[in-house]
Amino acid sequence: MNDGDEKQPGRDGADPARRDLLKTLGIGGVGAGLAAVVGGPAVLFVTYPLDHDTVSGGDGFLPVGRSDQFADGVPVKVDVLADRRDAWNRVVQVKVGSAWVLRDGGVLRAYSTVCPHLGCAVDIDDEAHKFKCPCHRSAFTFAGAVEGGPSPRGMDSLEVQETGGLVALRYQRFRQGVAAKEVI
């Protein structure tokens, strides 16, 4: 910006330093515009997962069996299957979890098989008439209450529905190792 006046005498009398400044501003302005052409859409593109469900499915009531499969006081382990979406894929009937389902005085109850303590799969002890966790020996009544072992709360009950001879439940996962039942 020093010898500009020798090379390009300002025909309109403009100060060469001022002209260079204008050119620099022009370069900056146009350059910023060029960057924005891609940069603006890029932000929307990359942040798309923040306000869209990219992985979804399995949050409603899912059928797990016919009504006559579940007798009073006899827990039956069922697999919960759901159709899932994972970005561009559609996956049909994948296992999202398991549940113990039984009738208790005619009322249908369902418990997640995930132990509230540390997440092992709770099993059944038919002879003792109890649910038992094989990992840390937490034991639960068929009503889901803790009867021994380290579990901080009873078995996590799941919402269950019976319509038209079919049993359906809403499968959810809960925070482990705490006394309160919190959906995660």
């Binding site: 090379k7 050119k23 370069i27």
Partner: protein
């Protein structure tokens, strides 16, 4: 601010670096014709950024590539725009590379001491084409798949090319490895190679400077300017024009086209992208053993000429006049490429078969992309068609109906009427001529009450009228009918032939045979599926199970859609 700059300068020498970049002397001053190189650098960097963005959603596997491309293009916000810019950007790179090449050739900028600038430039031009070729396959759609097949096919046909082809495509056939290899070339190998060559090209350029116009030295000195800001401003303005063109193209075409998923078993009208059309056209002239002329000899001769250009140019000055024969060679080359490209385009525009194939391909692409909205099964891009309700309905048909009924493309039993050419006028004619034919009720128990009507009893002319009347009873779904013929048919039906002894035509009324009001309409078909033994349908003689209690409403609706879709568009 100044303190920060001082701090940085002391450690990184940024002021020296900046003055190295900015104060490059340009003898003769800034010029528009120097912008092409800068525009190419801009385009390349933009392609890199766009490519990285696309890679955040793209998955290079034969099962995922198409579905992920459809997802990023049709679902993700602004995906169509960014992919469109990347797509058109590759065309722009080819165009600007050619412009840069022509300006360099015309200005004689390849001459001593700039031979290496020229050679590295040619190599980069080759890389630009390699980028285009490898990128084209990545969406794994019909066009990319088949266009690339042509290219690798050519590669395999040249002497010694077959092992190279197998290596490139990772096996004898296209598959996952073809995609991963093309992906690695497109996003790692080629960019690294281009960056390296570009670095060398720019270093050489800085060493020798621009090739100024042929003016006296003092004049060049008098007009000399620095790169910054004069030339850079011109460069940036040229980039802005380029960017505007790209955005305009992208918006007007609504991004890059995505064809239907690659189907190796289909016969797609394969065409390379426009910048390879000249080679494609050249191949048409050289068949069989002569093919090598188009694939190796002519391209090889052109490449040799370009590489040799700086070494054979012995003209005393850089003036284009002094170099006419060489520039003539360049003109011949470019003219040949342009002519071949134009010929290919003109031939295709006149080729009705190609145009029809293209139209079908567009329709299939639209359908596939609509179906992809529901997600694609993990089996792969082509599995998108499993989302088609017709596919699901066909599966239902196979399971519940095919034991007795036959559908076009799904041979089944002959215990009940066929749905092949169902409800065409010919179908009606054949049915009336002999309802006891195995195509109709011949295989169904208890449906033998309707007597055959041979031509002696019912002339073709009268039959045509009765059929027209039956079609008119279908309602709007039956299509247009000949009113006069319908009237004749109605009289025959009611009076001469006494069809109404067994068939009612007033909705709801029942007789020995099915009521024909609305026969063949979608609602009628749905009723038959639910309960064909309804008194106004087939009554007690019906042998078909009542699907109203076996299938869900959506399934019955899907089946009714499938069956009514069997009616020929222009029922004859």
């Amino acid at each position: 601010m100044k303190a920060l700059l001082d701090w940085l300068d002391e450690r990184a020498g940024i002021r020296h670096l900046w003055s190295e970049l900015a104060d490059e002397r340009i003898p003769g001053g800034a010029r528009v014709r120097y912008v092409f190189g800068s525009v190419l650098v801009f385009l390349f960097l933009q392609q890199v950024v766009l490519g990285i963005l696309l890679a955040t959603y793209y998955s290079p596997s034969a099962t995922d590539a198409w579905a992920s491309t459809a997802y990023l293009n049709d679902r993700v916000t602004m995906g169509w725009f960014l992919r469109g810019l990347h797509h058109h950007g590759s065309s722009a790179m080819v165009v600007v590379t050619v412009l840069h090449f022509l300006q360099t050739a015309i200005a004689g900028a390849y001459r001593r001491p700039r031979e290496l600038n020229w050679l590295s430039g040619l190599a980069m031009g080759g890389l630009v084409l390699a980028f285009a070729l490898t990128g084209y396959l990545l969406p794994w759609d019909q066009k990319g798949y088949w266009a690339t097949q042509v290219a690798t096919g050519i590669m395999g046909s040249v002497p010694g090319g077959e092992p190279l082809r197998l290596l490139l495509q990772g096996g004898k056939e296209y598959g996952n490895l073809t995609l991963t290899r093309f992906y690695v070339l497109h996003v790692f190998v080629l960019p690294l190679a281009l960056f390296a060559l570009l670095g060398g090209h720019l270093a050489l350029f800085r060493r020798h400077g621009v090739t100024p116009p042929e003016l006296p030295k003092e004049e060049l000195e008098r007009r000399a300017d620095r790169f910054f800001p004069s030339q850079l401003l011109l460069d940036v303005l040229a980039m802005a024009v380029m960017s505007a063109v790209l955005v305009g193209l992208t918006v007007s075409t609504h991004g890059a086209e995505l064809y239907a998923p690659a189907q190796p078993a289909s016969s797609f009208v394969a065409r390379p992208e426009w910048y390879f059309l000249f080679l494609f056209q050249l191949l048409k002239f050289f068949d069989g053993p002569l093919q090598i002329i188009a694939t190796v000899i002519l391209p090889g001769a052109a490449a040799t000429f370009l590489v040799a250009l700086p070494f054979v140019d012995r003209a005393p000055t850089r003036s284009p006049r002094a170099r006419l024969p060489l520039l003539g060679g360049v003109a011949l080359l470019m003219g040949g490429v342009a002519t071949l490209t134009a010929m290919a385009l003109v031939e295709d525009s006149k080729n009705e078969k190609y145009q029809a194939g293209l139209e079908a391909a567009h329709a299939e692409a639209t359908r596939a992309r609509e179906l992809a909205a529901a997600g694609v099964l993990p089996a792969g891009g082509d599995a998108v068609f499993e989302n088609d309700p017709q596919v699901a309905a066909r599966r239902l048909f196979q399971e519940h109906c095919a034991t007795c009924h036959t559908l076009q493309g799904a041979p089944g039993g002959a215990e009940a009427p066929t749905f092949v050419a169902w409800r065409s006028r010919a179908w009606y004619r054949d049915l009336i001529r002999n309802a006891r034919d195995p195509r109709f009720f011949g295989g169904a128990k208890g449906h033998d009450t309707m007597e055959p009507y041979p031509p002696e009893e019912l002339s073709d002319e009268r039959l045509t009228a009765v059929v027209e009347y039956l079609v008119s009873l279908t309602g709007a779904e039956g299509g247009t009918v000949d009113a006069a013929l319908v009237e004749t048919g109605r009289k025959l039906f009611a009076d001469d032939l006494e069809c109404n002894n067994c068939h009612e035509v007033k909705p709801g009324e029942s007789a020995d045979g099915p009521n024909l009001a609305g026969n063949g309409s979608r609602a009628w078909v749905e009723r038959v599926i639910r309960d064909s033994a309804a008194p106004d349908l087939f009554g007690k003689s019906a042998g078909m199970p009542k699907f109203g209690k076996k299938l869900s409403d959506p399934d019955i609706a899907a089946l009714a859609d499938l069956i009514t879709a069997q009616r020929p568009a222009a029922a004859k």
